[in-house]
């Protein structure tokens, strides 16, 4: 009895420390990635200083590099993706939780989530060979004839219908983030206690009023957190964007014109970059992207933590 006890204790220590080491390994990996990115980016950061972030030049011949175009493209495509993805995911979540007949719930939820399972290179091929031609021939002329004529936002939507560009990339990103956000929204909406919803229905509220007045306030912070998670996805997406964004290192007002993102710059140029400064500038772009997703994630976490704290108070 005692012997098995000591043996058990030793195994206990081994097992506990084994799990601890593995957990610390995760931490070490992130540190190692940070260090290697910083070390790789250092020559470029030293040479260009803070102006690296605000310079819109990207000239491999004269070795003058700035990140502004890529940052702009990354942020703008992600915003477009959010403008499409958030309302659509929201609608899907409402449909699944409030409207859908029970037997259809699971199939539809699964189908939407399958969108997330399709590898991003498939989105890229489809985008280049199927979606961009269709979009350029049928949708973009219409956009520049209608939205392009409007005052103020007109310049954003004018230009030749190339089918390739910031808007196309944003739309494909939007499709790609829908399943992530829709499934989190759905989970959130389903944890709203039915007592709350039913009492609202009981006093005669319509479905929309229940969602607006009961479900949304209850899940508010979580919804914002989910949006942030979707945003993090959109920022880092590589292969799909590379195929359809047009990869031009210039700042353009029009969303129909080609642009570039950080990840597509990396995918296009990393293997071809010769010379320390060029490679280092690309790695510096990677570092910026890493920090960008890091910040978005931190914000999401902060909001989600506030949510759980609030729940704690409530119960």
């Amino acid at each position: 009895m005692i012997r098995s006890g000591t043996k058990g204790r030793i195994l206990d220590i081994i097992f506990a420390n084994g799990t601890r080491i593995c957990a610390l390994l995760v931490f070490l990996i992130i540190v190692a990635i940070m260090v290697s990115l910083l070390a790789g980016a250092w020559p470029a950061l030293k040479k260009f200083g803070p102006s690296f972030i605000i310079s819109s030049q990207w000239n491999p011949v004269t070795e003058q590099f700035g990140a502004l175009v890529a940052i702009y493209g990354t942020v703008v495509t992600s915003i477009i993706a959010m403008l499409i993805g958030v309302p659509v995911s929201f609608g899907i979540a409402i449909f699944i939780t409030e409207l859908c007949p029970v037997w259809l719930k699971q199939p539809i939820a699964t189908a939407i989530e399958l969108l997330a399972a399709i590898p991003s290179i498939i989105y890229g091929m489809w985008g280049l060979f199927v979606f961009a031609p269709f979009f350029g021939d049928h949708i973009e002329p219409w956009i520049s004839d209608t939205l392009g004529r409007l005052p103020v936002i007109g310049p954003l939507f004018s230009g030749p219908p190339l089918g390739i560009g910031v808007l196309t990339a944003g739309i494909i990103l939007g499709i790609m983030v829908i399943p992530f956000m829709a499934s989190v929204f759905r989970d959130l909406f389903e944890v709203v206690p039915s007592v709350l919803k039913e009492s609202a229905y009981g006093i005669g509220a319509t479905t929309w009023e229940v969602i607006k007045k009961i479900v949304l306030p209850y899940t508010k912070v979580g919804v914002v957190g989910a949006i942030m998670l979707g945003l993090g996805r959109a920022l880092g997406e590589t292969m799909a964007v590379t195929f359809v964004i047009g990869n031009a290192d210039r700042l353009e007002t029009s969303l129909l014109m080609p642009g570039n993102t950080i990840s597509s710059s990396l995918a296009n140029q990393f293997t071809e970059a010769v010379g320390e400064i060029y490679t280092s500038s690309l790695i510096a772009l990677g570092l910026i992207l890493f920090l960008l997703t890091f910040m978005v994630l931190a914000l999401a976490k902060y909001l989600l933590i506030r949510l759980t704290l609030k729940e704690g108070v409530r119960t």
């Binding site: 609608g91 899907i92 489809w126 590589t238 292969m239």
Partner: protein, 285 residues
């Protein structure tokens, strides 16, 4: 009195209309989401299905103008993915165990959890660059192992997270009951908690497999690719995503057709895996 009733009726009508509009929109958005899935799959079937024959599974990748298949790429993909999971899963499960079982009041747990989410959201191309720097350059050659490691880094955070979530679902009373019988902690974890959460842990692993089997960007700088059958994971290994990428961007029609067949194949297998996971999870519950 009469007026008041009129106002109420018009208000009621307005509420009804708003409600109707919003709900219609929600149906439309759902159709919108499904529309893309259907369009994508239709494209893949249209372009790929007629080239998906037996030779795709039996013959290695051909040079342009000759007949061939994707057999070496399929085998390579399976091997790299499997090794990636075998590298990532044990670490992931143990780390998840730590977060769920041992770190309840620990101050490092939130840090690990956060760092894990950072790793989860790290762009895969950056992980590829990282593995290139720490494995490919020091060993002096591209290798299947480097590819597996890159994939393991992607799989790891997924497994950590699902393991933690799944272990937390196991009721505390089960642990307490086992401890009360005098079982040591590790034994409680391994033979009681793991067993209870078996389906969940396996789900996480399968999800990780589904996620990494379609990854292209990190393999470009690590596993590279191979025209032939590789004799070991210590040399460049053929894999489906990179082959699809190269063949799709080539000028030759026979290569492009193989790329579509490969794209269809990889999408079907990933989708099947996801569906299996889901049904599995439901019966597991």
């Amino acid at each position: 009195m009469n007026g008041l009733r009129n106002i109420n009726v018009s208000l009621y009508r307005k509420r009804r209309i708003v409600n109707f509009l919003i709900l219609t929109c929600s149906i439309l958005t759902t159709l919108f989401g499904l529309f893309w899935l259907v369009w994508l799959l239709a494209t893949l079937f249209f372009h790929g299905f007629k080239y998906l024959d037996l030779s795709v599974f039996t013959q290695p990748t051909p040079p342009p103008g000759e007949s061939g298949g994707l057999a070496n790429a399929i085998a390579g993909s399976v091997l790299i993915t499997l090794m990636g999971v075998l590298l990532g899963a044990p670490v992931g499960v143990l780390a998840g165990t730590f977060l769920s079982e041992y770190a309840i009041r620990s101050r490092i747990a939130p840090v690990i959890r956060f760092v894990n989410d950072v790793l989860l959201s790290a762009p895969s191309i950056i992980l590829g660059v990282f593995v290139y720097e720490i494995v490919v350059v020091p060993t002096g050659h591209f290798s299947g192992w480097a590819g597996s490691l890159a994939l393991a880094l992607i799989a790891l955070p997924i497994i950590v997270r699902t393991t933690e979530d799944m272990l937390k679902l196991v009721p505390n009373t089960v642990r307490e009951a086992a401890c009360a019988l005098g079982a040591p902690r590790w034994k409680v974890t391994v033979s009681i908690v793991y067993r209870a959460a078996r389906a969940g842990i396996l789900t996480g692993v399968l999800l990780a497999i589904a996620r990494i089997s379609g990854e292209t960007a990190p393999l470009l700088f690590t596993a590279l690719n191979n025209q032939f059958w590789s004799s070991s994971l210590n040399e460049p290994v053929a894999n489906l995503p990179v082959v699809i990428f190269q063949f799709a961007m080539s000028p030759y029609e026979d290569w492009q057709n193989l790329a579509w067949a490969g794209a269809l194949l990889i999408t079907i297998s990933v989708l099947m895996l996801n569906i299996i996971v889901r049904t599995f999870l439901r019966t597991g519950k």
